[in-house]
Symmetry: C2
Subunit: 332 residues, 2 copies
């Protein structure tokens, strides 16, 4: 295993310490490393809390700040955070307007956020949940019943985060998030496996000429193992699966996210973006917004995912609204 | 070779097309792909132009925009751009206040920017050059006489870019850039080689338990091949070399850049940042600003570099000044 770490059992704490020191103007890292919260909490605002296993950075800690999350709970690598983390985060950021959990559809996350909701709820604290299951690759997987939640999570966190800044109530925000989930689909491809620090060996093995189409962000199996293909063919297969499951007819406006899985450099992601744009334009789907980069990663995995979100004027305005987090920043 | 591309000879053009489509609000990609320029050119401002071989993205194209570069000329992968590219860029962005070239110290870049300066200069157009040679690893290398220019380039482009927005003249900007170069040192380490698309095989080979200390951003040899070490030991060796060559006594204020080389995920970079911060703090050097991420990459190479810049109140203010580029954005 080749990693820039001191030891597998120190990697998360040291990374959080480095993150907190680097972005101390935006976030506060809890002393017990249970959560990362916004430094400047807003009054009278629904608190948005997400979390999940670490190893997908910048998701979720890099999206804490104005216009996105109020707190994020980092679990051990590829392991759900425990309910006490979400409980502590809720107590730290609850401004009296309710707490909205944003949860990727993995069994551990779903169970632990549900337990946290039961522990944290009170007559004075309304807790609701948005469940994200945007991955069209498979209908069930190693750690999930139903579809997995992947890079579409960023879109939900950005759009619901912007609406929360506008002061909307928790019911409305949950419904908005659920609408974004219904209109968002993703699929990924791996050229290499990731290596979990505590394991020390690749999660799966791929031949020198193979890729895993439909891979999950923890290295879960996808739809099929296939020969390495050209960027255009990869984008075509991923978009075929996405658009086959999404109501995105000619004339529809979409947000296109080309997401790096950690080990793939920018140049290849822009090649994939170019390929995806050509395919969507051929179908007369209007690519109104794009985002390209390593946003929802899988440690050091080489590969990418494509996410398409159907948007309209309202969702586009929320996407464009100011955001100031460690990883995502615009108009501020 | 496992890459998300269509073909090695199309990768640069397609990546530039994707980049231009993604960031069309900030940049314009020249139709012949000779340069990327700011969409909104400022009047009466010294034009800053950089460039170099591609494969180091987001450097330089990702740093074109308000507060940094006016244009960047992307060469083929790891190959200097040709003088006609810089000439075309100069003609596209010259606002009549002179053109400042920012050049990393590689023989091809130095020669081609020099030829471009001769071609583009006229009685009406003053052209000057800042040469960057921040890499302390080796005194000469495969493609360079004297020290190589690496991630410190980002610091020069940011600080001189901010000063150019303030309206300073070309002599003052060149002198400012030369001061930043004198006060900036870097060193890198590779855990794996990169693979150049047109070559199709790793540039060098490293054993499963080896790393290359002092590697160049094209995979040039460093100081020594050594056994993989802990993050703290790696940071200690790199900072030892950097601080041994930099006047950064106790009480000095510095900017610390932990730069990913392309294949290393954020978690490891924050571990390295945490390690570097502890070492600098132990020496009573004040880490006033940090930046962490894959900013000056080497295709898919796993590894990182550390850059330390001595700053003062003036340089800190220029670093903090608004910037709005594809890759680096704050206060706008």
């Amino acid at each position: 295993m080749k990693k820039l770490i001191n030891s597998p059992d120190r990697v998360l704490v040291e990374a959080l310490d480095g993150f907190g020191a680097a972005h101390g103007d935006i976030v506060v890292v809890d002393q017990e490393h249970r959560f990362v919260r916004r430094r400047a909490l807003a009054a009278d605002k629904v608190a948005l809390i997400s979390g999940g296993g670490s190893g997908h950075e910048p998701l979720h800690i890099g999206f804490v700040g104005h216009g996105m999350l109020d707190a994020a709970c980092p679990g051990a690598v590829f392991t759900s955070p425990t309910p006490d983390q979400m409980l502590a985060a809720a107590e730290a950021v609850d401004a009296g307007s309710g707490v909205l959990f944003i949860v990727k559809n993995y069994e551990g996350d779903v169970m632990n956020f549900q337990m946290a909701a039961e522990l944290a709820a009170s007559p004075a604290r309304d807790i609701q949940t948005i469940l994200i299951d945007d991955d069209v690759a498979v209908e069930k997987s190693t750690y999930s019943t139903g579809r997995r939640g992947v890079a579409g999570t960023l879109v939900v966190e950005k759009i619901v985060g912007a609406a929360a800044e506008e002061g909307h109530g928790i019911d409305e925000l949950r419904q908005l998030g659920e609408r974004v989930v219904r209109q968002t689909r993703s699929m990924g491809v791996a050229l290499t496996s990731c290596t979990v620090p505590a394991v020390g060996a690749p999660t799966f093995s791929l031949g020198d000429d193979e890729m895993e189409m439909g891979v999950g962000i923890h290295g879960e199996p996808g739809r099929r193992r296939m020969k390495l293909a050209r960027a255009d063919a990869i984008a075509d297969e991923m978009l075929g699966a996405i658009l086959g499951d999404l109501d995105a007819r000619a004339g529809t406006e979409v947000l296109l996210l080309v997401n790096g899985l950690g080990g793939t450099p920018a140049m290849e992601l822009y090649v994939m973006l170019d390929a995806a744009r050509r395919i969507l334009t051929d179908r007369r789907i209007e690519v109104a917004r794009t985002l390209t980069g390593p946003w929802v990663t899988s440690l050091d995995m080489a590969g990418c995912s494509i996410t398409v979100s159907v948007i309209d004027q309202r969702l586009r305005a929320l996407w464009d609204a100011p955001v100031h987090t460690a990883a995502l920043r615009w108009r501020m």
